[in-house]
Every structure is written in C-alpha cells, then in structure tokens.
Amino acid sequence: MLSKNQARTFFLGGTVVFFLIFLGLSWHTLAREVPKQTNAQNLTESVIRGKEIFDKNNCMGCHTIMGEGAYYAPELTKAYERKGEAYLKTVLTVKEPWAPRGRKMVAYAMSDQDANDVIAFLKWVGEADLNGFPPKPDLQSKVPVPAK
C-alpha cells in the first residue's frame, strides 16, 4: 500500500514537474505566438487608449469580449464587423442610455476622440485569430423556411 511518504512525493513531484511545463508553454505562447496571432504590430496608441477606456468603464461587466465577461449584453469580439463604425460611434456618444430593443446600456456620452479609440480597440480585437471563435451558426441552414 501507498505510504504517506510516497503520497507526499507524488504531490510535490507532480506539482513541480507540471508547473515547470506550464511555465515553459506560457513563455512560448506569450513570447512567440500571441504577438503573431493578435497582430501586436497593430497595437497603436489609439487601440491602447481604447482598451484603457474599455477597462476603466468595466464594459466587461455587461458584455463579453473574446468570450469573457458578463452575459447581459452582446459579445463584442466581432462588433466592428457586425455593426460598423458609424453605429458604434452613436452607441458610445449618445447622451441617453442606448436601448433600441429595450435593454439599456449606460449612457457614456463619450467625446469623439474617446469613441474613436474604443472603436479602434474593437477593430483590433476583431482581427485577432481566435482559433475560430465566435463560431459560425452551424444549424442555420437547417432551419425550415416557412412557405408564404
């Protein structure tokens, strides 16, 4: 039967080995792959300011981005592609809570510059290679179209 000493060795050994592998992979991911996959060369000042504004207002407290955040408001990874610049600009700059379909967003009434930066950030996010996320609706073509 397993002794307490063996059990301790299993714990300490396993921890050290797997943690080292994890550190190595993390280094490879961050130093080699992420800059390529996320087009780090496109991280302009405007994109970075946009991220700061996104962060400071806790946009993730309602939306998800790259699938992370809260589930009260739409996924934003592809918002730039889906909605276009003009629409996003209106949402960010209006002075009344934006609520075209009933659910309210906080009225940020951003300046032109701030809104442009947030939009630049969203555009950058949308261009990152997320291994296929968000997925294409794979059942859409199977939904029967009702006869008129």
């Binding site: 396993g14 961050l30 309602c62 809260a70 996924e75 609706p137």
Partner: protein, 444 residues
C-alpha cells in the same frame, strides 16, 4: 476549543455571513434585470451589480478561509496565535477595504476585469492585508509545537493564493495577454490552490468529526492535492482555446482539464469513506452534513458540470454563455461556499460553549439552500442551452435570444428565493448562537 486566540475567527465568520447576504441581494438585482425589470439602472447599472456580486463572493469566501485558518492553526500547531491585536487589525482592514471597493464599484471606480475589478490602489492594500494575515499564520505555525500535514497544506494553499494574486495586477496593452494572466488568478485559484485550502479544511473537519486516524486521512490528502495540481495546472489551457493563443492549448487544455474532476471525485470518495470508517459519532451532525455536502456537491458542480463544457468542440459554442454561469454557481457553492458554512457550523458550539448542535432551523438552512441551489443551477442550464442553440447554432440575434430565455429567469428567481431563505436562516442562527466566551475554553 483550547486556545483563546481562536475566538478571533468569529469576526471573520460574521463578516462572511453578512457579505453573503449582500452578494445574494445583487444576484437578485441582476436576475430581475435579465427579466426586463431594470428600474435600478441609473443607480446600479448591471456592471456595478455584477462586479459587486462577484467580488463579494470572493471576499466572503476568503474571509471564511481566514477565519478557518485562525481557528485551525492554533489547534493544529498547539500554540496561541502570535498576536490577537494584529489579527484584529487585519480583520478591520479587510472589512474596510471590502466596503470601500464595493462603494467604488457604484461610482465607476474599478478595473474592467472579471473577478478582479478591485482598482489598483486598493489592490496594494489587499496585498498588505494578506501579508499581515500570512505573517500571523506562518509565525504561529513556526512557534508551534507541531506542524501537521493538514496545517501545512492549508498554509501552503493560503500562501500560493496570495502569490497568485500578483499576476492579476500587471497591466498589459494586449487584451489577450491581459486575459492570459487573469486566468492565472481565477483558474489557478479555484482549480488549483484553493483546492489545497479545501483539502486542508476538509481533512481537519474529517479528523474531528469521524475520529479516523490522522495518518490515514493525511495520506489521502496528499494524493488529492497531487491530483489537483497534476490536472489543474495544465488544465488552465481550457481557458486558452479562443482568446488568441496557439492551438496546442486545445489539446493540452482538453486532456488535462478533463482529468480535473478526479481531484473532486477524490474528495467525495475520501469524505464518504472516512465517514463510513469512523467509529466516533460526533454530536455535531449538522457540521457533518455540510462536510459531506461540500465534498459531494463540489464534485457535481465543479467536476461534472465543469467537464460538461471543457472539451474544445463543446466550449466553442458554450464559451461565455449562461452554461458558464450554471457551472460557476454550483461549483463555487459546492466547493467553497458549503465548505465555509461547514467550518462555521463546526466551530460555533466550540467557540460559544453552547452545546446546541441542532439549533432550530439549522437543518432547514442546509436543505433549503441546497435545494434552492440545485433549482438555480437547473434554471441557468435551461437558459444556457437555449442561448447556445438559438444564438450560437441557429444565429438568432442577441436580444431576440435573451427574450426567448426570459422564462428561465423567472424560475431562477423562484429557486433563488428558496436558496435565500436557507441562507437567511443560517445567518440568523449564527448571530443567535452568541459570541465566543472564555468559559468555552477547555482546561487541559
């Protein structure tokens, strides 16, 4: 109770109970907002409610862990805490930082990073607070007569939890890197070092409640925490599928995270086996309920409901939907919520000297909260599956999908009402039990 300084735990438990009630209040605000009743929007917008809900959760659990450590470490080390005034200072600074953070959330003062919304200046205070806590615990252990495996595993968990808070404080310009390190905190906490804390507290409770030999319990404790790290560290990869990180994480994250339930299964089997094996019938039956409960519900909520969406092909569709919320609720409740409530239930009669083991309502508190949580999990699951199919698979618009999901939030609120009734009974019981007294000290 043998050591007078263990009494300090009461304050941390009290804070835990109060913050839990407050957390639930914000849960209702969000559930009603999902139903379309967002009357509080101007005062408490959804993002303020959600930041408060998630952070209060973390703080009440941590406060419970700290109380548990202040109770367990003197007992295990056979030494008074090195300083009660310092522990009091640590308590009040924790409470104050918590309150200031919550007020800040309502004034748009935060960082928009899920679970880590506490703004930078307060982060530094948290670090100082936790350092003080660790100093008290580690010095007590150092000066103590004994250093048991249980106390070492618990302390190691607390120490690593503190260290892992640090990567969450670094600023990155790149959203992917930001997210990468957010998971070093969030994932490596709940699926890593917090399991050490859980294992330590569980082992302590089992030793006390079942009377099984310490050597046997502590041997299995090592096996369980070994399984935790072997699966859970590389298991972090299940958060690196779709955030701009390379594809090899799909394989590594998939394989290792699918093994994570083993550690939770280990805890459940371990608790049940020790319970059967134990000859002693400890009079505190409610503490035993919570102890076995946490071992079982954590396996269901974290293990089974976690593995349900951990494979890359599934997670592609469920990532960032209510399926995640379903799992998040039962996992946090089962693994860490019930554990803290179990520790409180065990400690109260010893601290107060009242041998009132089954206070009126104690059993109702257990059953109502658990049945309520099962209902809530089911409601979240229904909402999540609906969302996955309509929005992700069929391609329906976000708001149309949300409207189709509304009925599930009605069920959520009904189940949450049951849950809340149980929690209110628990907290009322706690305060009715009275305060620790010196008369409860055992003479040796």
């Amino acid at each position: 109770m043998k050591y007078k300084s263990q009494q300090i735990a009461w304050w941390f438990f009290a804070l835990s109970g109060v913050l839990l009630l407050l957390q639930i209040t914000y849960g209702f605000i969000m559930a009603f907002a999902h139903l379309g009743y967002d009357g509080l929007h101007d005062l408490i917008p959804f993002n303020a409610a959600t930041a408060t809900h998630k952070n209060l959760l973390v703080v009440w659990i941590l406060s419970g862990f700290m109380g548990a450590a202040y109770f367990i470490i003197p007992d295990e080390a056979e030494h008074e805490l090195i300083s009660v005034p310092l522990a009091k200072l640590q308590f009040w600074s924790l409470a104050i930082v918590g309150v200031v953070a919550v007020i800040g959330f309502h004034l748009n003062w935060w960082e928009g990073r899920k679970f880590l919304e506490i703004p930078r200046p307060l982060d530094y205070l948290v670090v100082v607070n936790v350092l003080l806590f660790l100093y008290i615990i580690i010095m007590t252990l150092w000066k103590g007569k004994k250093r048991t495996t249980t106390s070492l595993v618990l302390t190691m968990g607390l120490l690593f939890a503190a260290l892992l808070y640090l990567p969450g404080m670094i600023w990155f310009d790149n959203q992917t890197m930001d997210s990468f390190f957010r998971w070093w905190v969030v994932h490596l906490w709940v699926e890593g070092v917090w399991e050490l804390i859980m294992g330590g507290i569980l082992a302590y409770l089992l030793i006390k409640l079942t009377g099984v030999d310490r050597e046997v319990i502590e041997k299995w404790l090592y096996v369980i925490v070994g399984l935790t790290f072997i699966s859970g560290v590389l298991g972090t990869g299940h958060h690196y599928y779709y955030i701009g990180t390379p594809k090899y994480w799909l394989l590594i994250g998939g394989i290792f995270s699918a093994m994570e339930p083993l550690a939770f299964l280990g805890m459940a089997l371990f608790a049940l086996a020790m319970y059967r094996k134990g000859e002693k019938r400890h009079p505190n039956q409610m503490a035993l309920y919570w102890t076995l409960g946490t071992a079982i519900i954590s396996f269901v909520g974290a293990g089974l409901l976690g593995v349900a969406h951990t494979l890359p092909a599934v997670n592609m569709y469920t990532h960032g939907t209510f399926v995640t919320a379903m799992h998040g609720h039962m996992a946090f409740w089962g693994a860490y919520g019930m554990l803290v409530l179990g520790m409180i239930t065990y400690a109260m009669p010893l601290m107060t000297g009242r041998k009132l083991y089954t206070a009126p309502g104690a059993s109702y508190a257990f059953w109502l909260s658990n049945i309520g949580m099962v209902g809530m999990t089911t409601a979240f699951a229904a909402a999540g599956v609906t969302q996955v199919y309509l929005e992700r698979k069929v391609g329906m618009d976000f708001i149309d999908t949300q409207q189709a999901m509304e009925v599930h939030f009605l069920v959520l609120i009904a189940a949450a009402a049951l849950f809340t009734t149980g929690i209110v009974m628990f907290v009322v019981n706690f305060f009715k039990y009275g305060r620790p007294t010196d008369e409860a000290l055992e003479r040796s």
